[in-house]
């Protein structure tokens, strides 16, 4: 078994968990309580163990750790139809929150809870036979997901140096902003992701909003955005869970997607994008799925496509697709993508038999593009404007994060942006 442990941190991380686990339950034919649905053929899903731990009464418990510094979102999950799903011994719910301050999540509140979180993670890891790695969902602009998420990343890397750590990190949008201090939180978190994660899929709410709005024909809500993230996460792990002709595990993704150490920031795309519940109504042909998968406006982060090149790309197609069709279409798509001159090879491909529930077939692209530098440059320039005027830094200093630490993080991320630009 190659199990994966999901760690959901903060408000955003747990809202994603809500959508993600709903989708995974449906994909595996389970009810919201984790029991097999009547008539569902569990034995066909050979790799249930990747995401679930089976207990004696035939119930499947998600391999998930839910962490938040304010109880709201987790309480809503527990009060809803998935009330019986999660193991209460792996939920860490605290008060009084990190107040949008990375330093509080990382130092003050973080210090109180990190050992409990690590003990819960250790206990979950001990239930696996051969853990492949961790998926972390969080936002990098807030306080809990960013600050506490950073602390978890650091401790996780120390404790499990050889396991894969994949983060799904919701980054601040260029235009929509939740709080004034987002750039500080984001830059400090990105530094930890750079040092401790194997790969990070950056997701920005504005891009998700644009995708959702274009495809739904109505104004999308956060649930729609998180559903897109859930579909991406599901597809990244599909090869591990379902049989297929071309299997791709987390390790293979990392090997293929990260050409230089540290340049492991990715963007993702899922196709065909439809509103939840409407997926199966239109059966589209494979060339359209492939085209939509690699369409620039379908990617989930604000990439500077015009001034950059592809360093690497992976595609995973699920469901009713033919290998020959995939090869033909991907050869054409590969030609149309502007790859770096020193990357002569093709796109890494994967095929899994089972499409997400409701879809006949689907496509996922994970892309490492140098245009992601734009995301870092924007955050650094917003950071600089505030930092040079000493705005808001007292909150961080009061919680044990000096201006020097902040400046180091800023320089690290500015260098990261430069390393991407240099790779052009």
């Amino acid at each position: 078994m190659r199990e994966i442990l999901s760690i959901h941190v903060g408000q955003c991380g747990n809202q994603i968990a809500d959508r993600f686990w709903r989708l995974i339950l449906r994909e595996h034919g389970l009810t919201e309580a984790g029991t097999p649905k009547e008539g569902a053929n569990i034995s066909a899903n050979t790799n249930m163990e990747v995401f679930f731990h089976k207990v004696r009464d035939g119930k499947y418990i998600p391999r998930a750790v839910l962490v938040d510094l304010e109880p709201g979102v987790i309480a809503r999950i527990e009060g809803g139809d998935m009330a019986q799903l999660f193991d209460e011994s792996s939920i860490v719910r605290k008060i009084p929150g990190a107040a949008n301050n990375w330093a509080r999540g990382y130092n003050v509140e973080g210090e109180r809870v990190i050992d409990q979180i690590m003990n819960v993670i250790d206990a979950a890891v001990e239930k696996t036979k051969s853990l492949q790695g961790f998926l972390i969902t969080h936002s990098i602009g807030g306080g809990s997901g960013s600050g506490l998420g950073s602390l978890i990343l650091e401790r996780l890397r120390q404790a499990y140096p050889k396991k894969r750590i994949f983060t799904f990190s919701v980054a601040p949008s260029p235009l929509i902003s939740d709080s004034a201090v987002e750039p500080y939180n984001a830059v400090l978190t990105l530094q930890r992701i750079l040092d401790n994660a194997d790969a990070a899929v950056l997701l920005d709410n504005e891009a998700l909003f644009r995708i959702a709005k274009a495809k739904l024909n109505r104004s999308p809500n956060y649930m729609d955005l998180n559903h897109i993230i859930a579909l991406i996460m599901s597809s990244v792990t599909a090869s591990l869970r379902f049989p297929g002709k071309l299997n791709t595990d987390l390790g293979e993704f990392v090997t293929n997607l990260v050409p230089f150490p540290g340049n492991h920031f990715l963007t993702a795309s899922f196709a065909p994008m439809r509103a939840a519940g409407q997926e199966g109504q239109v059966r589209i042909n494979f060339p359209d799925v492939a085209r939509e998968t690699f369409s620039q406006d379908n990617f989930t982060a604000a990439i500077d496509w015009a001034n950059g090149v592809y360093l690497s790309a992976c595609a995973l197609f699920r469901g009713d697709v033919k290998a020959k069709e995939v090869e033909e279409n991907m050869a054409a798509i590969r030609k149309s993508l502007n790859f770096a001159s020193y990357v002569p090879t093709g796109v890494k491909l994967g095929l899994a038999e089972t499409a997400p529930e409701g879809f006949a077939s689907s496509g996922l692209a994970l892309v490492n593009h140098t245009g992601i530098a734009a995301v870092f440059e924007r955050l650094v320039s917003q950071f600089d404007i505030m930092f040079d005027n000493h705005a808001y830094t007292h909150w961080y200093e009061n919680a044990g994060v000096s201006r020097d630490m902040m400046a180091t993080a800023r320089d690290t991320i500015a260098n990261l942006a430069k390393s991407y630009r240099d790779a052009n």
Partner: protein
């Protein structure tokens, strides 16, 4: 790995999980959770997984503070267990800091003359000795000594052990005269202890320590005589020593 220990660990892990579930809904169960966590931490330490043991003890520490009225005795206990772990781990600075925290809590709560606190002071003194802060080490040994004397009287194995430790401390500071006085006091007590309380290994160690002191003072005859006594005692232990490393070393503190 020792399969008995493995079984104990998996049983303790299950108990911790169950205690977590109960405490999740009912904060009055936190005390029981802290207890279960400490049990698991102790087993992890035995297993040699210091990282996990540390995380568990630290969780116990923070969870115990969530209680409405944290129990000072419990808090002192967890701080000193954590300090003991750091000591074994070779992280002396952290060990000293956590033992001192344990002492502060017990002093704030009027527990300073208990044997638990005296034990902490003895162990803390041993750490300061290793950190070469001899004045602090001496002060803590004396405080521990006073408490053990008040509780046990003079004829006590624990009192003898602290004398032994003071002797070792003075010897490391090259204060041979005082080292001799301390080891002779330890010897008097250890020789007069009743059957059952007397540990021949400790007694033989005292002779070895005294031999070192006599030799340093230039009295080689006495030194040789002490070594002979130690050898005879050792042969009486039938070659078996509960702590072989200790039996092999010349000068050693007595951990309480």
């Amino acid at each position: 790995m020792d399969s008995a220990l493995e079984r104990q660990i998996s049983a303790a892990s299950r108990s911790v999980e169950e205690a977590r579930r109960l405490a999740y809904h009912d904060p009055t169960r936190l005390g029981a959770l802290v207890e279960q966590i400490s049990v698991l931490a102790d087993l992890r330490q035995k297993e040699g997984d210091f990282r996990k043991a540390e995380s568990l003890y630290k969780e116990a520490l923070f969870r115990a503070q969530e209680l409405k009225r944290p129990d000072p005795d419990l808090m002192t206990g967890i701080y000193s267990l954590l300090a003991h772990l750091y000591d074994r781990w070779g992280r002396m600075d952290q060990a000293a800091a956590f033992y001192e925290k344990a002492l502060h809590i017990s002093e704030d709560n009027g527990l300073e003359s208990t044997e638990k606190v005296a034990t902490i002071k003895n162990n803390l003194a041993m750490i300061f000795k290793q950190l070469r802060d001899y004045d602090k080490a001496e002060r803590y040994y004396h405080e521990a000594l006073e408490t053990f004397q008040a509780i046990d009287g003079d004829q006590s194995a624990r009192v003898a052990s602290v004398y032994n430790n003071l002797g070792v401390l003075y010897y490391s500071r090259l204060d041979v005269d005082r080292a001799q006085i301390m080891h002779e006091r330890a010897l008097t007590i250890r020789q007069s202890l009743k059957e059952g309380q007397m540990d021949p290994a400790d007694l033989s160690q005292t002779f070895i320590n005294l031999a070192a002191v006599y030799k340093a003072a230039g009295d080689f005859q006495k030194a040789e005589a002490s070594i002979d006594r130690a050898k005879r005692l050792r042969s009486g232990i039938n070659g078996f020593h509960p702590n072989p490393r200790r039996s092999a070393s010349l000068l050693i503190d007595k951990n309480l």
